[in-house]
């Protein structure tokens, strides 16, 4: 075998064995320079386009190491070879108009002759191989030299192209793995299903590996359940990252701020502190009380949740504020307005537009009506809430139908109507939560802090049974005697009655207050050896001076309630309510 062929085979073997192009090329240049008696050689690779890019030296052999040398593509003899995708054999370099003399000066070198061949695969130009200064004989590169260099350039170009593709593949594989990890972490941000009896459940189907949607829920100390569902604009990694941030904020702030409207305000303030690059989050947050079916909802720019009542009616609850991510300066920055709903045995569906705009079959959207129909048929078939929403997600993720957007649905299922709860009487599952006395005093919601039991009920005669039950259990837990407990139950009942009858003005003798007229919030606390009861309403302020106990010698119906309260309690005080709205009564009894 002749020497040039042997060299080509050997270098070809090197290329096949390694993806380290630069090391192989350094060796190849050395061997080929020796073979054709050239003083030096260099490999130039094109970075960027022919127009405006650079030719950068990646391997060199000879008296001067020119690795890292970068010249504008299209300049010099090597540039001409690359631009024309044609070899150059220049015997008298110094007289070539394209020759860059400044480089010789820079490297203290005299270039006499150049042999240059372009590196290309199909139509893609990768760079060029250049040999300089043939010595011996007439010192002129020959056609044989050119053929040898072209043969080397052919296998080098292929090797470079392969190495680049391998690099891209490896990079893609790394990306794919990272994305899969991100998706796993993201799924971990969703709450684990809490079981059949738990009234809140959700489903999330990402359109891509990661999702811009999320939902979450958790039980608060007093048995109420905080929940949220949100949709970050966009679907890619950036949306997923903003989703993770928003979800964390909800988890964190949602445990300390029990007002969904103010919670969304605070999340917005936090989110707006980071650069959003035009992204925003439509978000619903709320708190549901499984004991009473009462639900407080705040909606920042999200698709209207659907309330499905037990008489099969749907009601859409429109958003009342712009999405999260709109700077507070632009919107005035107040809390998102809240809406109070009594589910009364119905269900609340919160979903992203991916659910209503998803395809049931190619080109056919489920639509709001389709969504409602699926809810109705699920309820009619006696399906659990989880089964109902899984069915909706399933019908949108059939094989062959491309998911255009993430699908997320959350449902709050108030299985037991309020009246049924109240009728259950003594079996009412009231959670009496014992907490440490020393709770933080910060936050306007201190009404509910450090409490043994807190509940909010509609101001109706029918709610009082529930309040009595709560007082009875809590006062018993505090160690009061049976008689004292009975007295406390009576006092709180009477105080709540006054709210129903006088503050909200429902029914002259009571019992007619069937229409809801606002709420009563009762908070039962143990403070410094005393049992403290806070009763809050949201009615117009009552003139305290007009409230007086009846004269007991005057035997006539009515007017006894205030007397009972003062007789039973050690202290009865009307306090200014925390936010100036409604009335706040504090009753204290030493334990």
């Amino acid at each position: 075998m002749n020497e040039p062929l042997e060299l080509l085979v050997e270098i070809g073997r090197h290329f096949a064995a390694t993806l380290d192009i630069e090391a192989t090329m350094s060796l190849a240049l050395k061997r080929i320079a020796h073979l054709m008696a050239a003083e030096g050689g260099a490999l130039f690779l094109l970075e960027g386009d022919l127009d405006g890019g650079q030719l950068v030296c990646r391997a060199s052999h000879g008296p001067v190491d020119v690795r890292g040398l970068s010249i504008p593509a299209g300049t010099g003899i090597v540039g001409r070879s690359v631009a024309n995708n044609a070899p150059e054999m220049v015997w008298d370099v110094q007289n070539d108009p394209h020759f860059n003399k400044s480089l010789d000066k820079q490297f203290d070198f005299t270039t006499r002759s150049i042999l240059c061949v372009p590196l290309s695969v199909k139509d893609e130009i990768l760079g060029a191989l250049e040999m300089v200064n043939k010595s011996g004989g007439d010192a002129l590169f020959t056609q044989e030299d050119l053929t040898l260099l072209e043969a080397l350039a052919g296998s080098a170009a292929l090797a470079i192209s392969n190495a680049r593709m391998a690099g891209e593949l490896a990079e893609k594989e790394v990306m794919r793995r990272e994305l899969a990890l991100a998706a796993e972490i993201q799924r971990g941000l969703l709450p684990a299903p809490a079981g059949e009896d738990f009234p809140v459940c959700g489903v999330n189907r990402p359109a891509r590996v990661v999702s811009g949607d999320f939902f979450d829920y958790f039980t608060l100390y007093d048995g109420r359940i905080a929940f949220t569902l949100a949709d970050v604009s966009g679907k890619g990694m950036n949306a997923a990252l903003l989703m993770a941030k928003t979800a964390s904020l909800f988890r964190c702030l949602g445990k300390e701020d029990l007002r969904p409207g103010r919670l969304l305000q605070r999340i917005n303030a936090e989110v707006c502190e980071t650069s959003l690059r035009g992204m925003f989050v439509t978000m619903v947050a709320g708190i549901y009380d499984p004991t009473t079916g009462r639900l407080v909802l705040a909606n920042a720019g999200h698709e209207p949740p659907l309330l499905h009542s037990t008489d099969d009616q749907f009601q859409a609850l429109e958003a009342t504020a712009p999405p999260v991510g709109i700077p507070p300066e632009l919107t005035g920055g107040g809390p998102v307005p809240e809406e109070v709903i009594y589910l009364e045995g119905g269900s609340l569906y919160i979903f992203t537009d991916g659910a209503t705009e998803g395809y049931v079959e190619p080109g056919v959207e489920l639509g709001a009506d389709g969504f409602k129909a699926m809810v109705q048929s699920g309820v009619a078939a006696g399906q659990s809430a989880q089964t109902r929403i899984d069915a909706i997600a399933d019908c949108l993720t059939k094989d062959g139908v491309v998911l255009r957007d993430d699908i997320t649905v959350l449902v709050i299922d108030d299985a037991k109507p309020l009246q049924e709860r109240l009728k259950r009487g003594d079996n009412t599952a009231l959670k009496v939560v014992k907490r440490d006395q020393a709770m933080g005093e910060n936050g306007e919601d201190s009404v509910f802090e450090g409490s043994l039991c807190a509940l909010t009920v509609p101001a109706r005669a029918e709610s009082l049974k529930l309040v009595r039950r709560a007082v009875s259990e809590t006062s018993t837990a505090c160690g009061f005697s049976h008689e004292q407990c009975q007295d406390l139950v009576l006092a709180v009942d009477e105080a709540c009655q006054n709210v129903v009858r006088h503050a909200y003005g429902g029914g002259d003798r009571g019992g007619q207050g069937n229409q809801s007229q606002g709420d009563i919030a009762v908070d039962l606390r143990r403070e410094k050896g005393s049992f403290v009861i806070l009763i809050r309403d949201y009615a117009p302020a009552v003139d305290v001076k007009k409230i007086k106990p009846r004269d007991l010698d005057d035997v006539r119906p009515g007017g006894l309630g205030v007397h009972f309260i003062r007789e039973v309690m050690d202290t009865v005080e009307h306090l200014p309510p925390p936010d100036g709205q409604g009335n706040l009564l504090r009753l204290i009894k030493a334990i």
Partner: protein, 110 residues
């Protein structure tokens, strides 16, 4: 809450059981007032009342007053512990005519 009305001679005996509160006291009031219209006297059996609030007490007071103006007898009987405690709080244990047992009330008022 349940109300059972029985005739014992010329008297009506109104037996109330369960919780008498803001939501149920209107029924108690209605039952008592209608009994007063068609009877010579009314005995209210409170033995099975587990809870009574001011609105329930007010119903009793109103019925008592109505009976009085018509010259009819009105008495409470077998007042269980819880309603008795409430009547005492209202100092009404001294106002109402209270018998330990229903049959005693019926015998006394006949």
């Amino acid at each position: 809450m349940e109300i059972n009305i029985s005739q014992q001679g010329a008297l009506q005996v109104v037996a109330i059981s369960g919780e008498v509160d803001l939501s149920t006291s209107p029924k108690v009031r209605e039952a008592l007032l209608s009994c007063i219209k068609g009877a010579h006297g009314v005995v209210v059996d409170l033995s099975a009342v587990s809870y009574i609030d001011s609105s329930g007490v007010a119903s009793l007071v109103e019925a008592f007053q109505t009976a009085k103006t018509k010259g009819l007898g009105f008495a409470l009987a077998e007042v269980s512990e819880t309603p008795m405690r409430v009547l005492k709080l209202a100092r009404l244990d001294q106002v109402f005519v209270i018998y330990p047992r229903v049959d005693e009330a019926v015998a006394a008022m006949a």
